[in-house]
């Protein structure tokens, strides 16, 4: 009897994992605020990036501020492979990165191990 319960529990748990991690879940998107000919947006780093997608206006100098609340060493760097940025994010301190917005396009950013992803859209 216990064994059947365990089996049902295990199958249920597997089902939950599949749904939770592989199911479609909406992610947050932010459009940077333009102020005095510059634009800025903040990304909180805690178990991933919130928001995961940041939209920037092309041609307006932009600053992205990362605030890492997560203690994990997994997330202690943010890498923009297309822009040559690989910055250390001090925990609980805002870290600002200047973004070159001259070329429109979609730019990925990720943690140092490329396991967490975010996206920068310049248009």
């Amino acid at each position: 009897m216990t064994q059947i319960m365990v089996l049902i529990g295990a199958v249920g748990l597997i089902g939950f994992i599949v749904w939770w991690f592989f199911g479609k879940h909406t992610t947050a998107t932010t459009t940077a605020k333009v102020q005095n000919a510059t634009q800025a947006a903040e990304v909180v780093v805690s178990g991933g990036y919130s928001p995961e997608t940041v939209v920037l206006k092309q041609g307006v100098p932009a600053e992205l501020t990362f605030l890492r609340k997560d203690p994990s060493t997994c997330l202690d760097h943010v890498v923009f492979p297309d822009m040559g940025i690989n910055d250390f994010l001090p925990q609980d301190q805002a870290h600002t990165i200047a973004i070159d917005t001259t070329k429109p396009g979609n730019y990925e950013f990720a943690c140092g191990m490329n396991m967490f992803h975010g996206q920068l859209i310049i248009k």
């Binding site: 365990v6 597997i14 994992i17 592989f22 805690s46 178990g47 994990s72 822009m83 690989n86």
Partner: protein
């Protein structure tokens, strides 16, 4: 917030008594307080050293993400909570599993951070090369100003033993300069008035004044730093598969762990404790850390090391492409040869030939023009003004000299055929690997100028080394077949493609690409399309900004041996990435079944603490293996006398 180091020390101190307890158990030794002290010690570790893992795991979970912290947290919390339950119901506990796993993983993370810091130090070292200030002459007074305030056009004084602040050109004085930090050139270079100096290089004994031509982000060093940074953050295509796996890896491992527990407990009739231990081991061994750092660390060390040698590899894609190259194509002028041709013979009425030639070439930017002008200057022949100057690509230049339509170039500019005497002289000179230009007036030849551009000292050695690597060497040139073949024979090139117009170089490369991947080595603006067309574009001698942009590999020094070093280093780095990935994969694919107890019948099992140790070791071995790239041999870099170099008349 505690650092990883302090968390490790905390975990170590609190798990030592647990270790004593475990080792002492067979001899009848027990910690005072028994299971309850184990509970206390482990709780402290969980609350202090392991807490950040739990925090991060929870934060990711809420974002529908999972990472290695998820695995560590689930593995240890499971072991811990089960032990608490066992303690309350008077069963066997295994607190030490949770404690040891945390300790080992923190040790691994601590060492890994230290090693990663040394792997990525190349950029900081380059930035540190920068001079801090400069002595600028302003309003006749010399003032010391911070580097950031130096402007283009400033005249800067460099005293013996001082660092050169920015890029520029010497206007007074001379000295020898150590450029090894930027170009990798080990010998000090003599610099005199008119020579270019590079910022961040070291002046030796002389002193001089120079005019700043590039400051801030435009300097060579700043461009190198930017390029190395980009290379280090880039991704090799081989990694894309890994990234895809990493995305789904953790949830899949959790499912595997649950399945492990269910199969052992439900179908194989194991006790709950045994089944749980197998499941926890699976979770712990599977951390995909090694997989995640296999490529980036190797890329960082490889590109960092090459930058120190004056070889800039643009990104991981280039690195991977360099590994497949079978044919290597060289531009002739300036790449295989010195690029500074000299006039060796003049056929015909020397003053008249030289006057017409020099006058036309005064306005030209052709590399041969400098040779003609230098010769005219030496012969004290004045240059006449030219009207209707026109450069005809692949042919030569034309214009009005003293009211006559004069030209200098190849036979395509002739309207009447070359007289037999000149044709014979031309053939003789070409036989001796000289470039011969025809000087003429009104479509008729009046004489010949022979110009020679000798191969670089290192060219023959480099070709021999490339052939040893199994590469097919090809020379591409706008020169005629005979001249090109003569140079090719001197340096030992397999194949010559001559008479190629500048605009057709890219097409010639594309044609070669049909048989095998091609690397193209060149400088100059003309080469930019060929550099981009080739699978790997190697731009030499820092050349022009355009060459830097279009080259996948940029050689700061003008030495062909660096092509060999660059390819060797690219291959070594890529092989290291492959090796790292192979071990990381093997480790995970073999580790998981062992941890799940698949081989339990053979007596091969993995306890959670061994799994933790294995996990820590696997990431460490990957980082260590990447760091080893710093010490791998790159083959001979000695600059011996080139093989088979003939004396040229």
């Amino acid at each position: 917030m505690m650092s990883v180091r302090n968390r490790f020390i905390f975990a170590l101190v609190f798990s030592l008594p647990l270790l004593v307890n475990m080792v002492g158990m067979p001899f009848g030794f027990m910690l005072p307080g028994g299971a309850w002290s184990q509970f206390g010690l482990t709780s402290a570790i969980m609350a202090v050293a392991a807490w950040p893992f739990l925090q991060s795991a929870w934060a990711s979970f809420r974002h529908h993400h999972a990472n290695m912290d998820t695995l560590v947290a689930i593995g240890t919390v499971t072991a811990y909570l089960y032990s608490v339950y066992a303690l309350l119901t008077k069963r066997a506990v295994f607190f030490e599993s949770a404690a040891f796993v945390i300790t080992f993983i923190l040790l691994g993370q601590y060492l890994e951070t230290r090693m990663k810091a040394s792997a990525s130090s190349a950029v900081e070292k380059l930035v540190d090369l920068q001079a801090k200030d400069a002595e600028v002459i302003r309003h006749g007074q010399s003032v010391r100003i911070p580097l950031a305030e130096v402007q283009v056009g400033d005249v800067i004084r460099v005293r013996p033993g001082q660092k050169i602040a920015v890029d520029g050109e010497i206007i007074e004085g001379s000295s020898t300069v150590d450029e090894s930090m930027v170009t990798g050139e080990s010998m000090p270079v003599l610099k005199k008035t008119g020579d270019k100096v590079i910022g961040a290089t070291m002046n030796s004994k002389g002193s001089f004044l120079f005019k700043a031509s590039k400051v801030g982000d435009d300097t060579l060093l700043a461009q190198i730093v930017a390029m190395v940074k980009k290379a280090q953050t880039s991704h090799a295509p081989i990694q894309k598969t890994v990234d895809k796996i990493a995305d789904i890896f953790v949830p899949v491992v959790l499912i595997a762990a649950i399945a492990t527990f269910a199969i052992w407990y439900v179908f194989l009739g194991a006790s709950a404790v045994t089944a749980l231990l197998f499941a926890v081991s699976v979770v712990i061994i599977a951390c995909p850390c090694a997989l995640g750092i296999a490529t980036p660390t190797a890329l960082m060390v490889g590109t960092g090391r090459s930058a120190k040698l004056g070889i800039l590899i643009k990104n991981g894609e280039v690195l991977e492409a360099a590994n497949t190259v079978k044919t290597i194509v060289f531009d002739k002028t300036g790449t295989i040869t010195e690029g500074q041709p000299k006039v060796t013979d003049i056929v015909g009425d020397a003053p008249a030939v030289l006057r017409n030639a020099a006058s036309l070439e005064a306005a030209s930017e052709h590399p041969l023009a400098a040779a003609v002008l230098a010769k005219a200057k030496a012969a004290k022949i004045a240059v006449e003004p030219v009207r209707d100057f026109q450069a005809v690509a692949g042919q030569g230049v034309t214009g009005q000299v003293k009211g006559q339509a004069a030209f200098i170039g190849n036979a395509k500019l002739l309207t009447t055929p070359l007289p037999p005497k000149l044709a014979q002289a031309m053939a003789d000179l070409q036989q001796a690997a000289k470039t011969v230009v025809i000087v003429g007036v009104a479509g008729k030849a009046i004489g010949l100028i022979a110009i020679q551009d000798a191969p670089k000292a290192s060219s023959a050695t480099a070709m021999a080394a490339l052939k040893q690597q199994g590469l097919r060497t090809v020379m591409l040139t706008g020169d005629n077949q005979r001249v090109a073949q003569a140079v090719a024979d001197q340096v030992g090139i397999d194949e010559v493609i001559a008479d190629v117009l500048p605009g057709d170089k890219a097409a010639a490369v594309a044609k070669l690409q049909q048989t095998a991947p091609v690397a193209f080595v060149g400088d100059g603006i003309n080469d930019a399309p060929a550099l981009t067309t080739a699978d790997v574009g190697i731009a030499m001698g820092s050349g022009t900004d355009i060459a830097i942009e279009s080259g996948g590999i940029v050689l700061v020094k003008n030495d062909l041996m660096d092509v060999v070093t660059a390819l060797t280093l690219a291959k070594k780095t890529f092989n290291r990435i492959r090796l790292n990935l192979f071990w990381a994969f093997i480790y995970n694919t073999l580790g998981i079944p062992v941890a799940a107890g698949v081989f339990a019948a053979l007596g091969l099992v993995l306890s959670p603490e061994l799994a933790g140790l294995g996990m820590a070791l696997s990431s460490l071995s990957v980082v260590a293996s990447s760091l080893l790239l710093n010490t791998t041999k790159l083959g001979q870099r000695a600059k011996g006398l080139p093989i088979g170099q003939k004396t040229m008349a």
